[in-house]
Amino acid sequence: MNTPADPRVPADVRSLRTRTLARNRRDIALGTALLSLHQAAEALVPVAIGVTVDRAVFTGDPLALAWCTAGIVALFTVLATAYRFGARFTLRAAENEAHLLRVETARRALDPRGERSGLRAGEVLSVATSDAEQASLYTQAWARSIAMVTAIAVTTAALLAVDVPLGLGVLLGVPLFMLLMRFPAEHIARRSEAKQAAAAGATALATDLVGGLRVLMGIGARHNAALRYRRASARALEASVSAAASNGLYRGLVTAGGALFLACVAGVAGWMAIEGRLSIGELVTVVGLAQFLAEPVQGLGMVGQAFATARASALRIVRLLNAPDAVAPGGHPLRTEPVVELSGVTYKSLRGLDLSLAPGEFVGVLATDPRDAEALLELLSGSAGREQVGGTAAVGGVSVHDLDLAALRGAVLVEDHGATLFEGTLRSNLLVGADLDDPGLLSALRAAAAEDLVTGHPEGLDRPVADRAANLSGGQRQRVALARALAADPPVLVLHDPTTAVDAVTEGAIAEGVARARAGRDPAGATLVITSGPALLARADRVVVVDGGRATAQGTHESLAEEHPRYGEAVLR
């Protein structure tokens, strides 16, 4: 019931990070070393230019030129090679970590016991996708920050070697300048966030309107929609232009500030050169290094951001990984035939529910409150927490909480109203719980009144099912999900509102098909249908009315309709 016993699950962000570094240590170490070497070589390029001007161009010595050129080629070789391999090692560490985190979060999210992280479904998805990626950037942030520090250190050393006071001046000046630039930069960041929000708003409106285009057409509102989009687009434009203005201001400040700083350095260095304290080459070197230093300092600022993003993502990952299980199942198998026995069950909105389902029985449940239906489904699918449930809820003579989850879900299949189909084909969807040949699948489809999906389609059972089954209508999705459940052929089948998206005629066909298919099972399968559809209820051997969290009436559809006036009202007719 509580925290996962697995000690390998990191308990907090710090241990997640430690594990990240530990399990990618080779790639991170090599990557960091090589990227540092690359940055050092980059820092030495202006030095190389200075040395060449000083020793070769100024002196006119061909031998010196040859040496200098060879030196430059060697420097670039080191620079290029170090980057080539350093970047590879660093990326491999990040990709590998992202992969491991992705699989780990997916495994946690999919665990049969469920999780109580408090994250909504959409959030779990974003943890497993974008957060896994962001958190892994931690490896790169490390490598890059060390490389930047190396570059700054090399530049420092080179400048100090030329002249100590000048070097100190440059070293203090550049970070000071970058620090000053932080303030307008933060302002820009806010502006550009506003701009992105406005642009995203316009795009979201566009996709929303196009998503409802058929509705818009039906109501003749396309012109109004176009006007609304134009207004949103104008708002986005306004935000972009204002962001462009502040961006331009920043750009202008950085350009002017950088050049003014360079003028100062050049002035002082030129004065020192005239005084004879610097050689010409040193003068060039100082100017070149001053220009170069801005890069790693700026880069270090960006790495700070990367660390912050990675931390926020790591936090969410840790939260999901450490979420307590939703249920703590036992390990028992079913003791008897898969009979369902609920007696005096209290759970969520249920207030002492009695309900039984014998093998081969077809029972309809009419729940006046949808919350009662949800609670019953959670109970039967084994996703209700033990301590929240009162009374006895047993399947096959064992309490659902003591049953092994696989045994419970193997015996009782709950096909929820949500009807999620998976991307693939009709066949792959029907086969998720079954091992049937084509005639078997076709007869399941027939029982679900969904045969027209195959016969009316050139690809038949291989008809593609898109992501979210977007290429099927609501009624088609519902019937395919029903066929999938019938094909799985479980001893106990629990259906929830299986006919809400089909018309009365089809509902009649489905009621007949389901009853036949379940009776035709060997041994006959038990079926529980939670519905307010009259055709299904009429086909049931027995209907149980659940009102106020308990079973208030029981009988056949006809007798209930005659004896209980409220029953007639509650049945969807």
């Binding site: 109004n224 609304r228 209508s473 009365a504």
Partner: protein
Amino acid sequence: MSAAPRQTELLPTASARRTWAVLGEGVRASRRTVALAVAAVLAGGAAGLVAPWVLGDIVDAVAAGEGMDAVLRSVALIAVAAVVGGVFTGLGGWFVGRAGETILARLRERVMDRVLHMPAARLERVRLGDLLSRVGDDVAVVTAGIARNGADLVVAAATVLLTAAGMTALDWRLGLAGLCAMPVYVLALRWYLPRSGPYYARERVAMGERSHAMIGALRGRSAVRAYRLEAEHEGRVGDRSRAAMDITLSVFRLFTRFGARLNAAECAGLAAVLVTGFWLVRADLVTVGMVTSAALYFHRLFGPMIFLVMSFNEVQSAGASLARLAGVADLPAEPEPDTGRDPEDSSLRVEEVVHTYGNGAPPALDEVSLEVAPGERVALVGASGAGKTTLAAVVCGLREPTSGGVYLGGVPLAELGERRVREHVYLVSQETHVFSGTLLEDLALARPEAGEAEALAALERVGALEWVRALPEGLHTVVGEGGHTLTSEQAQHLALARLVLADPPVAVLDEATAEAGSSGARRLERAALAATEGRTTLVVAHRLTQAQAADRVVVMDGGRVVEQGTHDGLVAAGGRYAALWRSWQGAPAGQGPSGTPAALG
């Protein structure tokens, strides 16, 4: 629940020439801003050339043993250039951003306009995904391209051109030496692009599959658990994640080799400048300072060059998206027939309409004829696939009949033209869509000039006022994606309230009420009756109580009308409808004289 149309076509993509032309139109429309932007960027770039040039002068001054004056003059020059450069760079960034964003805004508005006004016939043929990716992803890609890189790209390109010009101005031979790097850059690009293109395409596919696996598994968590598919889905996520990672790593290997080639180009150029400078200084053709300037110029180019080359991919993909946008923007605006004949009344006539979804498919409508008098309420009854929804769509002009005709007040739909048809016929379809925004904004789509009072009155008429009042901010509650989630019953209520606001003479209702549960369905039925009172109404009856309340019931099967009459008359006649009615009333199926309900389906 009719079968989805099978013939799909993609929206057009513009040719490179048309894309440039569409872009050119945009540039012409904001000619002044573009001109200012170009001038400012060039001025800013030119000011940036001063510093390295003057640094060379300082070197020469030092070499010539001149005094501090020369250095101070140079420093002053750099400072002035710094300020000028800052001003123009800033203005340039602003103008480039403004011009680019304006051109883009006009383009996206035009695209959206074309998409929203697409003729019904074409809309039936294109895929929704294609439409969504044009107005969504493509716009976002182009926007990001312009927003993130637009100004930088223009500035970098200007810097490269101007710096090359500056080097040449120092001495043409030094400029030529710097150009040595060019072929190496070009070769690197030509080596990289053809190799990386397919890799990137594969990477996108692999990443798409990875997120599909992830999203599919997590979104269907309850089904995954119910069918005990955890291990299978986990395995699939792992496999696809690893496959995507492998591709990413091999793309990156290629990329780093490309990076090494770019470094080689830098090395070749720098060495060429220094060596050429050496010999030119020896020959006394240039000064040491000029060589220094040239080398500093070249070093300054590393950043912008790498940026330009690296952005190539992004520019390409923005270009591809732009071509897709231009293709839609180029669609002709739909002409409206302007014959003056208006419908005489609100009667509806369907004459021998045949509709076939695809070649060889059996007709969804087979010579259907139907007349609805003004103010009459007719219910369509039949199994899934009987043609009810198709008939509703044909009556609304959303599908063109393969043969036969539909007349509104005696005038053929085709003659009325799409806009006037919409003014007369209103469809409440099975598809409910709550448009994101406030509830009032959603309602106003039906009638923009509707005020709060009218909106409330419409809601009251359909009996939705109570729950709307109970919302956190009433009419101003934000609903739809990302806002307050409405139940399917509430969404239907909203659709009916829109109908009341639009107030058309003819209403076609094809709504699925069963999602709302039994009491909800009854409420919705009452709401529909109230909303359509006094209008000529065609109701696709998913529930037979809807048929019971109609003036006339039309039973369809296999695309044909098989029975029609009043509810009582048909029940008394003991035909198919009577059997349906009995089974609906709850009598066990199979006991009626006409066999099981499935006999109709």
